[in-house]
């Protein structure tokens, strides 16, 4: 990593913005597509849904031939990989992990030496924000933990729609009844409810399955 010329594209709404800004050359999305500097690697940590992400990454690809690692937590990842060959790996960098571990994925067809380089880079990059990494070899829409936990959070909000119990009691129940590491509402707060909504919207838009529609209270709290 020491010999590499790296650009990190990140916005201030990212939970690791301050730490990453201290350790790496950073640009926001607008700055990144306006600059034509030479990089070996671009780490895109913008939190966009599929359509916006595709537009952004296509613009970015016009400015650099560098390999791109992109945060695809709020996207249908297959579409991004299909349209953007320059994106070699994806990460889920902002979704709250109680174990401080991030999921990442490297394209299956990636050559071994590039794959090893990317694995080492991702490990080292996230160690700067004191995060461990976990390689997920099967991605689809979003990543495993964001997908499962967002649905748990959505159900907790549906329960709130019906006034089943208070937020505090629902959190307490999930921690003390089934040993969850934290309650769904605390998890939503730590991740950012708007991001949870984006993940659910992406699941719903991609599958057209009503099981992914967001709760009304969740939508209202995102306003």
């Amino acid at each position: 990593m020491k010999n590499k010329n790296i650009l990190v594209v990140i916005e201030p709404n990212h939970p690791h913005f301050k730490t990453i800004e201290k350790n790496f050359l950073t640009r926001n999305a607008d700055e990144a597509i306006a600059s034509y500097e030479t990089y070996d690697l671009v780490v895109d940590l913008t939190i966009y849904r599929t359509e916006k992400k595709i537009i952004f990454l296509k613009e970015l690809a016009k400015t650099t031939k560098a390999l791109i690692i992109s945060d695809l937590t709020c996207t249908f990842q297959d579409r991004i990989f299909h349209q953007l060959p320059q994106v070699k790996a994806s990460v889920s960098s902002f979704f709250y992990s109680p174990t401080r571990t991030i999921e990442y994925f490297i394209r299956i067809e990636t050559e071994d030496h590039i794959k090893t380089m990317l694995q080492n880079f991702i490990d080292e990059f996230f160690s700067k924000v004191e995060m461990k990494t976990f390689e997920n070899k099967m991605i689809d829409i979003t990543f495993t933990v964001p997908r499962v936990v967002s649905q748990i959070i959505n159900e907790a909000y549906f329960a709130l729609d019906e006034k089943l119990a208070s937020k505090e009691d629902i959190d307490l129940a999930m921690i003390n009844g089934v040993n969850y590491p934290l309650g769904p509402f605390s998890w939503a707060q730590k991740t950012g409810l708007a991001h949870i909504h984006s993940i659910l919207e992406e699941l719903y838009t991609t599958t057209h399955d009503m099981r992914y529609r967001s709760s009304l209270t969740l939508k209202k709290e995102c306003l």
Binding site: S97, P98, K137, A156
Partner: protein, 288 residues
């Protein structure tokens, strides 16, 4: 609220655990089962568990003696008439529970609180044929397995439940060290409802029986999500058939709400007889 004597109906895993928890609060407990053999096994299990606590110095010799003396095995007719609370943990069948409470209503005074430990049947429905005064003293008290370890107790009000009485019980459990939460009488209450997607979404991620995917999903949810067990490990432990049955019940109770739709893989596992740890084969295989 004074709770000094309790009757626990049903001496399976949950009933025995609930009885032991009440004993450890220094209450007098009538443990009831229609099967003398089952009852004998449950008492032996409770005594062994208490003796283990003594060996670990978690309770004193005197505690052990008192707890054992405070436990009485009996049948329905033999329940102390002055019990303050009756809680059932019998089979999850509405008609069986309904009949049990109608029988108890005939023999116990109106002030006795009746409670169900059901995890899926509506409280209001279990109480529907009871007299109105009894309905006021009827509620759900849902413990989690193992009842002596898991802190949570869900307190569920039926439609006619006296709110002050249920609030008093909520406080009683809090004072005794439980985390007691109040919720409406809706399918799955809090935990069995909100936890549905831990399994449902994981099943949709793997879609088919592919062991590598199953292992990877479990590993990811533990390593990244911080869950103590992965969803497939947990389904194996609970029993895939039991988990499937709860999912189906919640799905039907919510009038086929897609959020609770069971997954075809659950059904395939049940049909194939791979029910989890209890059959030595589930999503994983276990040594014989």
């Amino acid at each position: 609220m004074q709770i000094k004597k309790v009757a626990v109906i049903g001496s399976g895993t949950m009933g025995a655990g609930i009885a032991q928890w009440f004993l450890q609060q220094n209450l007098i407990v009538d443990l009831v089962d229609q099967s003398p053999e089952q009852l004998k096994n449950a008492i032996e299990k409770i005594f062994k568990s208490l003796e283990n606590l003594k060996l670990k110095n978690k309770i004193s010799d005197e505690d052990l003696k008192n707890f054992k003396n405070n436990l009485r095995a009996t049948d329905l007719a033999g329940i102390h008439r002055d019990v303050d609370l009756v809680i059932e943990a019998i089979v999850e069948k509405l008609d069986v529970k309904e009949k049990l409470f109608l029988d108890l209503d005939r023999t116990l005074p109106p002030k006795t609180i009746f409670a169900s430990n059901t995890s899926s049947i509506p409280i209001t429905e279990i109480a529907k044929n009871l007299p109105i005064d009894r309905k006021k003293n009827f509620l759900g008290i849902h413990f989690f397995n193992p009842a002596t370890v898991m802190k949570l107790v869900e307190i569920i009000d039926g439609f006619e439940t006296d709110k002050q009485m249920s609030q008093n019980l909520l406080n009683f459990f809090k004072q005794k060290g439980k985390v007691s939460v109040s919720c409406l009488d809706r399918p799955g209450f809090i935990v069995n409802r909100v936890a549905r997607n831990f399994y449902g979404e994981s099943l949709r991620i793997v879609e088919n029986y592919e062991l590598e995917k199953i292992k990877a999903t479990d590993q990811c949810l533990k390593e990244v999500g911080g869950f103590k067990m992965g969803p497939f490990e947990l389904m194996d432990l609970i029993g895939i058939d039991v988990n499937y049955s709860v999912t189906e019940s919640v799905y039907r109770s919510f009038f086929d709400e897609p959020r609770f739709r069971p997954h075809k893989l659950q059904k395939e596992m049940v049909i194939s007889g791979r029910l989890g740890v209890k059959t030595k084969k589930g999503f994983y295989e276990y040594e014989k």
